[in-house]
Every structure is written in C-alpha cells, then in structure tokens.
Symmetry: C2
Subunit: 277 residues, 2 copies
C-alpha cells in the first residue's frame, strides 16, 4: 500500500484510527475460549464490526508468538482474512525487529512475503544495515521507533549528545538518509504530546504511528494539536480500550461503539486542522 | 540454567563456543532439501556432531519465522531435541525483542515458557520496563544488546553525551540496576576487539555473548585478550563458518571439524588466561 492510498482512506473514513489486535486468550469472552481458532474468531468478529471506523489494524506479534506455532497459524489466518475482505486496510506488524543485515533481510521476508503485511515496526538500535533490508520492498513501510509511549523511553531515548541533540532526534535525522516519507514512518507515543512539536521540526511530512491513547493514558486532542500535518500525518492506535471494551457475546458491537466514538473525535479534528476534508 | 553450571561446562569442555543455528533452506545440503522437517534434520545432525565442542547453541529466530508457522514447528522441534538430549547445553534465542511492559511479558512467556530457552537477546532501546519482564524468571538470562558486530553499530551506539559517556556505556551502567550477573549478559561484537577493555571497566564480572568471528571477520585472539575474565566471561558465537562448512553428505562431520578447531584455540586461551583450568 502506498501513501496516497492511506491518505485517501483517511478522507473516505474520516478517521486515522488504527485498532491494535493484541489478542490474548485470557481476555477474550468466555463463550469463545473453548472453540477451535478462538483467537482468529475473536479477531474476525472485531474486524467485521470495527473496520468502518479504522484505516489500519496493528497485530502485536508477541501475543501470537506466545502460543507457539499455533499462534502463528492464528496470525496467518488473521492477515489472510484482512487482506481478502478489507484490501484497503493498512496492515501493521508490531514486531519491533532489527538485527544484522542478513537477519533483518529474513525478518523482512517474514512480514512482507510470508505474511502480507504493509508495514513493520523496526527498532533502530543497531543502525543503518539493520534497517535498510526492510526498505527494499515497493509499497511497504517501516515504522521506526523514535519516542515510545512507555516510561522506559526516558532511559535512553532522551539522552543528549555534546550539542544537545537527543537520541531520538539523531534517529529521526539519520534515518532520512535511508528512506523517505513514502517508505518510512515513525513511532511517537501519545504519552508525550508536547514532544510532537519537536518531532515535527525534523520530519514535518512523515506519517507517525501513535500508540499510548486509551489504556496507557495519552490524550488524543493534545497529540493531534501538536502532531497533525497537511496530510493528517497521524495514525493513532488504540488496542485494549477497543477490543476488550466488553466481555460478553456483545463484545464486537461494544468494540464498534468504542471505535466509532474515537472516529467521531478524529472527524472533528480533521475538520478543524486539515483543509482536505 | 545458572551461571555456575555454565562455568562448569566451560571447564569440562574446555570451550566457550556457541554455535549459531541460522539455518536457511537455501543453504543446506541438496540431499536434505526435499525431506520433511529438512531444517530440523539439518539441525539435529549438526548438533549431534558438534555438541562435544560447544557449550551453547543460539537459534536465530528470523530464520525460522520466515517460513511462517512451519518454521515455528522446526524451532520447537529443535529446542525439544536439544533439551531432551543435551540438557547441559545453554540455549539462546537470538530474537532481539523488546517492547512495552505487557508485550515484553508475552515475549518472555514465548521464549522461556512456550519454548524452553535459557536466554534471549533483548534490545535496550525502550528502556527499563521493556527489559525487566524478562528478568522475573529464575535461572534464565537476558542478553542485552550493548555494542553489536555490524557496521550500523557506529550509527547510534557510540554517540557521546555531554560528559563523554557513550550510549552503549549508558546501557551497561543503567541495566545494572535492573539485573545482575546471574541473570544478565551483554552482546559485544568481536568486530571491535579494542572495545572490550572499555566494556570490562564497567562490567568486569558479567558474561558477554560475542558474535562476529568467522563470516563477519572478528578476531578471536584479540577478543579473548581484551575480554576474558576469571570465569572466562565470554561465550563466542560462530554460525555460518561452522554450519555451512560443507554442502555434501559429510556436512555434519565437516562442521564438527570446524567446531573442534575453534574449541582447540579456545582451550589454548583458557589455559593461557584463566587459572581455573
């Protein structure tokens, strides 16, 4: 999927919502737990109910891997279902991979070929040759970790060099030599809304994937005010607050209700800040 | 597995070799390619032939994931085979994981429970709460990326702060508040042998996992001279130079020959530098 298509979908759906499928067998409704393919069945019902309100889904790979090969079967089924039924959805593997070149090449093959994801989150710690193998695919994106939403993001990401440039700023700057806005996005957490202004000074045009609203406590309004650009430039994720909104046989309906609430708030912001609506 | 057991095995085998099972269907001998479970069969024969010379095996998860769920079946079979037949082997998942707390917890569950690995490589970029979930398991280790063996390690890992402290040094220092030498090791690449002295100033006692000899060009002698400590303190990995030493039906025998050569060199260094031999 390319950038033009993503922006088009934002206009059509009046939404820049990404729904995180962090699907955990412990947390799905009891009536689904004992059926075969419980995780896939849960995902399918969530997707069918919520896709009108979202432009992207993000699958958190840890939640599938922890079930071993059976989890990978659920992952593959979910990706196939999304691609077959909702081809306009932007599909993100939240995998935070990154390794030496020959290994990153295998991870790229995993998520862009074996599984047909449109994007993968990538950890920048190992530098250029750990990131560029993901960039050799047409119409695929990396989403590089810049400023994450968790408390530990303060440990290293904000360290300043001799010139006062912080580590996440180094990453934003240097990675622009590796890719461009047509194949690179960045993770910037909603838990630091004031930092979006700093980020936008360096990368005014790139899309940002924004985790941290909902269960993690980030504020959507503040994030948008500081982070939006002329193409919207934001994909804001919510996982637990949507998919676990209810635990009965009405879980999908309730998830849709929560997704719609966020979509309506997003529509308001798009009208307020983006002249393309 | 605990530290005492690892040191014991180093003494018994006179080796601190780790063999990397970066097993790629493209590179295994033609006579194995078309059988069921080709990857597992290759691993099994390599393990049976080389385990006398190695104290650890490292499975590079990317090489399994790229085959989808079938690759995870090969991964699970290999781990089960190693644990059942060679319980003294230290078993490393080279996975470079790291995410927000609730997700790292799932990755820890994946590699320490679903799969019975003894250790996992972890990326430090997201800080404390992305690392500590891996530390709640008894007799399991994290191996935190400090100074990696690839060219891109120069991009961010060597950035100096206002006081001249480099990023990898921050990681070595800060992570000592999270764990200790009984549950934490560090990745330091053999391609920067002069840096081991710097590393040892901060962590004299911890074990280091050292990639980068063999195909990546690092020098074992220089690495040992600068990095060894009283418990050896080094686990040196070689992958491609051992497992792909030959491409005929003698591949396992040839792999054993290459592993033995490295073990003998290691025996020499242990006698030279470690008084426990």
């Amino acid at each position: 999927m390319n950038l033009k298509k993503i922006v088009e979908q934002i206009k059509i759906k009046k939404s820049f919502l990404c729904i995180g499928l962090d699907t955990d067998i412990q947390n799905i409704p009891p009536h689904l737990k004992n059926i075969d393919s419980a995780i896939f069945e849960f995902n399918k019902q969530i997707i069918d109910a919520t896709n009108k309100f979202a432009i992207a889904y993000k699958l958190n790979i840890a939640f599938y891997e922890c079930m071993g090969y059976k989890g990978w079967v659920m992952l593959e089924k979910t990706v196939e279902y999304l691609k077959a039924n909702y081809p306009d959805i932007f599909l993100i593997a939240d995998a935070k991979r990154g390794d030496i070149g020959n290994t990153s090449k295998k991870y790229a093959q995993t998520f862009f070929e074996t599984l047909n994801f449109d994007a993968i989150t990538v950890s920048p710690y190992m530098g250029e040759d750990s990131v560029t193998p993901f960039l050799s695919y047409k119409d695929k994106f990396i989403i590089l970790l810049a400023l994450t939403s968790n408390k530990g993001s303060n440990d290293f990401q904000l360290i300043k060099d001799e010139n006062g440039v912080r580590l996440f700023e180094h990453i934003l700057k240097k990675s622009q030599n590796w890719g461009n806005k047509d194949n690179t996005m960045y993770v910037v957490g909603a838990t630091k809304p004031e930092m979006f202004k700093e980020v936008r000074k360096i990368i005014p045009d790139h899309f940002l994937l924004v985790p941290g609203i909902g269960a993690q406590g980030g504020d959507l309004g503040e994030t948008v005010k500081n982070g939006i650009n002329k193409n919207c430039g934001l994909i804001v994720n919510s996982s637990r607050a949507i998919i676990y909104a209810d635990n009965t046989n009405k879980f999908a309906e309730k998830a849709a209700f929560e997704a719609k609430k966020i979509q309506e708030e997003m529509e308001y912001y798009l009208e307020k800040y983006c002249n393309f609506m």
